[in-house]
Subunit: 344 residues, 2 copies
DNA sequence: TTGTAGGCGTTATCAC
DNA sequence: GTGATAACGCCTACAA
């Protein structure tokens, strides 16, 4: 290779370049960056000048290697397009950023196998902690995570046996609560529409079923599910085909999320079916639109942003050895009954 | 420190641990991982066995340091909660992931200063390329990016003088086209409602203004903007206050995005104002809901997923020295007129 | 407060 | 096809 003149022109400046220019040792430059208070004003100024002049940016790989501190939190979510994870992520990013951590984010596409591969990728970055979604990790994935010897938070749902820490809420209880309210509102024949059918959706269905069975109102023929990803369009389709196959036997529909519910609502409008008098409708996740659409849509709200904040906070505190709380945190939920289930 | 027994029990296994166990040299292990075809079957098998037995995960920091290849693409977007970026991100992640790159994502909160700080953070990870949003970087930020000597793609909007590469579309032209269609539909007094008012929104407004001015229909008193972030709720509020302050002088509203437009639509329903006959309404970004709501909402669609795919593809190809296309790519847009602007 | 020596885990280079 | 050696850029320890 060429003999490289460092600094301004050549390759990227290093700590040593800065040190030479400021006529100090490398470690002093390192201190100016990481522990400015441990350096005299004079040297700090000189070093800072050199840093600015050279446009020096520390090499985090070298830093991680030498210090065993990467400043990275690895995060795995099942989908980038599901709005639900936006709020959670925002909470995580806000806390992580404020505490000086970077977030390395991966998308597992709802696949445990892909998750395993992505977790491996994350771990190769020497993250100081991990936040992952749910509890359906493969055995290999669980082993990797334990072996990694870093705090792990599983989020979104409440787990029986978390790997380490856990923040979420019971989707089953939430499903139960909502179904209970629907029945209480006076609806008699309640169908279920579900898509994707991941763990959390199945728990909602379980809760729904439980509530209906308690009043002997559960009918398996009124459960319509598909592995396809949820969308408003799909909600419309499922609603239409449900109507066709049930011949008016249904007077309310529990949709596994608000995408489907909004789709069903818009479709019912086009089919001239009155919501809520002819058809009750509810969703899950409480999108912003749900409160504003007409009729407004009943849904289950969970403090997603807070969940992200909590997950990241737990980690940051554990890393500082300051965490006092429980390992499992129930973030709760809230059933929000609105016009779409107001049978009267 | 303790004399550490490596492997199964102690600290994390390293390349050397694997090498010892497989009775080969470290470099052979490295080859098995990075260039498996350059190692004999026999050794490859032995090494793989040791890797599995020890649960070895390569240390990417060390690898980056030694090879000057981090496998990281840095991405900066202005907001994690704006749905618009989901699709773009999905495109980026899909391509990056398929090509073996990791994505380090930061949120700049629509602030050039924060962007500068975040870009510094990204650059300290030695990314092999950068994807950033828009063209409002600070001078310092631009200098850092140039100095970094990696491919940079600015995305979302079309730029006069991109730092390097650019994928997007003209928000001004798009705004113009939509406004033109509104006028063509027969609306006479068209208001503008805008929030956040970032660069791209301002360009939409400029296009809107241009189209109206050409027909001497622009009225600055009918432009309502706020720096607040967009939301459905805010759309409703802005619509309501606009109605109050204009006294029925307006017969159509151009909303700077679909959040506001949906909010305005739902609010008009509550106010018993008929859309589209009494009030035309259009948005921007074409959310999925816009096509399904009743009346369906006119909007401007841009291929966001494709934009993300294109940005990442350009980078991956440039990194392989295989990119043939232009440095500036116009991804285009499409005005989708629906029921909400059908004055008849 | 400042500096010196050594090593973090991996890969490039050049031998064998 | 395989291996020894020397970086990569920085930080921890210890010393002055």
């Amino acid at each position: 290779m060429e003999a490289r003149k460092r600094g301004q022109s050549g390759r990227k400046a290093t700590l040593v370049d800065v040190a030479e220019r400021a006529k100090v040792s490398a470690i002093t430059v390192s201190r100016v960056i990481n522990h400015p208070d441990k350096v005299s004003d004079e040297l700090r100024r000189r070093v800072q000048e050199a840093i600015d002049a050279l446009g020096y940016i520390p090499n985090q790989s070298a830093s991680s290697l030498a210090s065993a501190r990467s400043g990275v939190i690895g995060v795995a979510i099942p989908s980038l397009s599901n709005i639900v994870f936006n709020d959670v992520l925002r909470g995580i990013y806000d806390v992580a950023g404020a505490s000086g951590y970077k977030v390395l984010l991966v998308d597992t596409h709802y696949s445990p196998l892909e998750e395993e591969s992505m977790v491996r990728t994350l771990l190769s970055q020497s993250p100081e902690a991990m936040i992952i979604t749910g509890g359906e990790q493969t055995g290999a994935c669980q082993r990797m995570l334990k072996n990694a010897n870093v705090p792990v938070v599983q989020m979104m749902e409440l787990l029986e046996n978390p790997l380490d820490m856990n923040v979420g809420f019971s989707h089953q209880k939430a499903g139960y609560s909502m179904a209970e309210q629907i029945l209480k509102a006076g609806y008699q024949r309640v169908a279920f529409i579900g898509a994707r059918m991941d763990q959390r959706v199945q728990q909602r269905l379980a809760g729904f079923r439980e509530a209906l069975e308690q009043q002997s109102r559960f009918d398996n023929k009124l459960v319509f599910t598909t592995p396809q990803p949820s969308s408003i369009a799909l909600g419309g389709e499922l609603f239409r085909s449900m109507m066709a196959s049930t011949n008016g036997a249904v007077d309310a529909v529990f949709c596994c999320n608000d995408d489907l519910a909004l789709g069903a609502l818009f479709e019912s409008q086009r089919m001239n079916i009155n919501v809520p008098t002819e058809m009750g409708l509810c969703g899950f996740n409480d999108f912003e639109a749900s409160a504003f659409v007409n009729p407004s849509l009943s849904s289950v709200y969970a403090p997603r942003y807070d969940m992200g904040v909590k997950a990241a906070t737990m980690i940051v505190e554990v890393l500082k050895d300051e965490y006092q709380g429980e390992k499992i945190v129930d973030i709760g939920y809230e059933v929000r009954m609105r016009q779409s289930t107001h049978l009267k």
